[in-house]
């Protein structure tokens, strides 16, 4: 069968992954597999030596227990076990399928996601539309900052009545922020 990605070369790398009770199968060629690996995708090793196979499975070298290489690989394994607190997806799963489980994954897997996004999109900073409630919050926050500065100045000048007024304004804005936060 032909590689599912390039449709040109024969598929020699076959893997099956079960994510959340759904079976995901991929059949691709060696070249595409290597290209994908550059993006941080992980595929089962096709190394023939037993040591190589175990290294892949366990994520570290058996015979070099305390070497820096071991420690790095150990950290790598820990990183891969990282889970998203909200949906339970692991970094490992993400690296295999290239998709996330929920919005929180973007925070949980930031370490691996950021370079991937940079490669995919050429940028890591959004420059477009912002949802209304987010834009509103941002402008309220800005107003609060401005008022806080005025408050500090008023205190310095011992204009306590004015300071009290400002403090009340700040408080009511902060309350309105909290209300908004619960908006579904």
């Amino acid at each position: 069968m032909l590689c599912e990605l390039c449709h040109m070369r024969p598929a020699t790398v076959h893997f099956t992954n079960i994510v959340n009770n759904q079976k995901v199968e991929m059949h691709i060629c060696e070249q595409c597999a290597n290209e994908k690996a550059q993006f941080g995708f992980v595929f089962p090793s096709f190394s023939t030596s037993l040591n190589g196979l175990i290294t892949e499975l366990l994520g570290f070298d058996i015979d070099s227990g305390n070497s820096p290489k071991f420690q790095n690989q150990y950290l790598e394994t820990l990183t891969r076990r990282k889970q998203c607190e909200k949906c339970g997806m692991t970094m490992e799963e993400f690296l295999k399928v290239g998709k996330v489980g929920c919005s929180n994954c973007y925070t949980a897997f930031e370490e691996k996601l950021n370079p991937l996004i940079r490669r995919l999109q050429g940028s890591v900073k959004h420059n477009g539309k912002v949802p209304d409630n987010v834009a509103r919050k941002a402008s309220v926050n800005k107003k609060i900052e401005e008022l806080k500065e005025l408050l500090n100045k008023a205190i310095e000048r011992e204009e306590y009545e004015k300071a009290a007024e400002l403090r009340d304004q700040i408080k009511s804005l902060e309350v309105s922020l909290n209300d908004d936060g619960g908006n579904g």
Partner: protein
């Protein structure tokens, strides 16, 4: 034979489409969602749209995927109103479609929401406005998954940021005929634009119909993305028009002969496969666009292009038919409809 004003000619550009991907913050993405959550999202969206009072959405069509048979689902796919993904989806999913079929909101496809606005001709800016209108409407009553760095958050990192896929459907027979289409593909790739044939597998462009769309969704504004695709489309239109002219001027009689032969087959054949029909239709469409064929309307040929697709054809005939019967019915449908006004 005169060429129409090709820069503004909607003949080469068939349609413009805007797609916005959005997700609700309080639910996992569809793949990790359970059916209770899926149902909640569907009901929520249905309510928001019903209560919107938006003129464009009056009397909208609500389609619950699980209530639809395979053929009906496929018809929606053929009309470009839902994606093949949504049709194949096993999750509880739905689509909200406006009466004029300009708007289609897919619920629980790959992302919770896929808002789509389609216009005939080169109208990406209008489509973006309509898409944004729907988006703002839903945003008011929802909590979108959004981060200041990565913008709108989606299932696949290839869609984050604006979540916008802007695309234009184009008819490029002259560029294909002369092989110049390869150059177009190269240049578009360099500009991070995807060009793919709409009908047929992979790169084979059945009917010479192509879709040009942006690949990058993060980092640019929505307007920049739309401008980029519009500019690319305008240049491709110019190229196609120029090559049409050149081909015609080289040998007008041979050019017209090819068109009229295809017209003859299309209007008289008794058995036509989808593939053959699409290629004949492409020639006839070119003939109409260039003022060579005057007895057939462009809208009619475009309508026929949709109706002859497998599922739409079966729906038209009204019953299950064998592949051989389909080819006969297809030819019949074409003969019946092509001269209609």
């Amino acid at each position: 034979m005169m060429m129409g004003e090709t820069a503004k000619n909607s003949g080469i550009v068939m349609s413009s489409r805007i797609r916005l991907a959005r997700n609700l913050n309080e639910y996992p993405f569809p793949l990790r969602m359970n059916n209770v959550q899926a149902g909640e999202i569907i009901n929520k969206m249905k309510k928001i749209i019903s209560e919107s009072g938006m003129e464009e959405l009056q009397n909208f069509l609500f389609v619950h995927m699980q209530d639809l048979g395979d053929i009906d689902k496929q018809v929606l796919v053929e009309k470009h109103l839902i994606s093949p993904d949504l049709a194949a989806n096993k999750k509880d999913s739905a689509a909200i479609i406006s009466r004029d079929e300009k708007i289609s909101i897919m619920i629980n496809e790959e992302d919770h929401l896929r808002i789509q606005a389609i216009y005939q001709g080169m109208k990406l800016a209008d489509a973006l406005n309509l898409g944004n209108k729907i988006d703002d409407l839903i945003a008011k009553k929802s909590n979108y998954a959004f981060s200041s760095n990565y913008g709108y958050l989606t299932f696949c990192p290839t869609n984050i940021g604006t979540g916008l896929r802007a695309s234009v459907m184009m008819h490029l027979p002259a560029l294909v005929m002369t092989g110049y289409i390869k150059k177009i593909l190269e240049v578009c790739n360099k500009l991070n634009m995807a060009v793919r044939g709409i009908y047929g597998e992979h790169s084979s462009a059945l009917g010479n119909m192509f879709q040009v769309s942006n690949q990058v969704t993060l980092g640019q504004t929505e307007e920049e993305i739309v401008t980029g695709i519009t500019n690319a489309a305008m240049q491709i239109i110019e190229q196609e028009a120029a090559v049409r002219n050149e081909l015609y001027n080289q040998n007008a009689v041979a050019f017209e002969d090819k068109i009229w032969r295809s017209f003859g087959l299309l209007t008289n054949a008794r058995v036509l496969t989808t593939d053959e029909s699409l290629n004949l239709i492409s020639d006839v469409r070119l003939g109409i666009d260039m003022g060579i064929i005057k007895d057939v309307k462009m809208e009619k040929i475009d309508q026929i292009m949709l109706l002859i697709q497998p599922a739409s054809l079966q729906k038209f005939v009204g019953r299950q038919i064998s592949p051989i019967e389909r080819d006969v019915k297809r030819a019949e449908l074409i003969r019946q409809k092509i001269f209609e006004s």
